[in-house]
Chain length 222, copies 2
């Protein structure tokens, strides 16, 4: 009997199957993967570092669609914006991985490399060390929230009775097509405008007051 | 035989059970709810408008924790900030409902009422009709992304080898406790500062260029 050209089981196939299951169900289990691949559950564990290892393979797979080289664009904020758009597109293709990946610590080396690059870019741009992670995390929140919205129906509000919510009905009537992209670009532009203005100030980003009073006195630097 | 004081099955109990299942598994099915309540699946359908009806009951339940009266605070942007914080807290308590609810159209009357109030508040503040929904949607993206982050581990990045990502290691070392709150407030302040600046301008928010060039020339109004 000839030996099969490729092994029945490898990390690639386990990852692909786990991603299929998460796309369908929002969750996965190792026995589910085994059933779908027609192997014993124990065999899966020979290839991966437990369930957590599979979560990291999923993170690496989804994040591999992010165009990391965008981070090198000039100037730095154009780079961050392009990275954010590519990041959003990668996760919008697999929105149900988002809650799974955001509730588990990042360990995948390739994904940590991507953070290393983003951190480096912000440090080079002049951000204080203590501001760098908050700036990245806030951008990710906006990106992942928008990725979920990109997976939402275009007609997100269904009014059975327009007279019950007349102003909402009017506002919805004024929404152009592509509302998800429009809202994402609004949040992204707004956020980066503000963050740009933080550069060169004395206060760290974290000291920005919650009600934005200080922000009112802060003109973006050209 | 005495009649039971409360029915074995009602919408409240169905909603509570569906929420438990989604909190655990990220998804639910009507037969799962029936099994957990010890009733026939068909009995569930006597009380709710199908699976979609249960999704709307879940939306109403989670959104009921949002303090809608915050929208009446003065000035309008303080109201929006307080609403956003309360909205984030409500969804952070049930993060796994987020992808379920964001991929299904909003029909629950109480939730539509909340949008009606937010739309009214922005119209009164002077926003153009076409800008109102983008402003709300972008805020929601930021809120929901941050709600997921609030459900994340405090130590979100685990570096097996700090020398592989030295700048990330330094940036993480500089992150104070409560990084999720800090990042949320940064994004919220940044966004509202920008949106405030849009008031009284000629261009609609949706016309803001993607690369933020126009934003550089836009000083926030005091």
């Amino acid at each position: 009997m000839g030996r099969p050209r490729r092994p029945l089981l490898d990390r690639e196939r386990i990852t692909t199957t786990a991603l299929e299951i998460v796309d369908e169900q929002g969750e996965f289990s190792v026995p589910q993967i085994a059933r779908r691949l027609g192997v014993q559950t124990a065999s899966i564990y020979h290839h991966v570092d437990g369930r957590d290892g599979i979560v990291e393979l999923l993170r690496e797979r989804v994040a591999s669609a992010i165009e990391t080289e965008t981070l090198d664009l000039e100037p730095w904020d154009r780079g961050m914006a392009a990275w954010a758009r590519s990041y959003r597109a990668a996760f919008a293709a697999h929105p149900r991985t988002i809650p799974l990946l955001t509730t588990s610590p990042v360990r995948a080396p390739k994904v940590l490399d991507q953070y290393e690059r983003a951190v480096g870019r912000l440090l080079e741009a002049g951000f204080a060390l203590a501001d760098v992670m908050p700036v990245i995390i806030a951008l990710e929140n906006l990106v992942l929230g928008s990725a979920l919205d990109l997976a939402a129906p275009e007609a997100m509000w269904e009014l059975a009775d327009e007279t019950a919510t007349p102003r909402l009905a009017r506002a919805l009537g004024a929404v152009p097509e592509g509302r998800a992209d429009q809202a994402f670009e609004l949040a992204l532009t707004g956020y980066l405008t503000y963050v740009r203005a933080l550069l060169g100030e004395d206060d760290p980003a974290g000291a920005a007051p919650a009600d934005g009073d200080r922000a009112r006195d802060t003109a973006p630097t050209p």
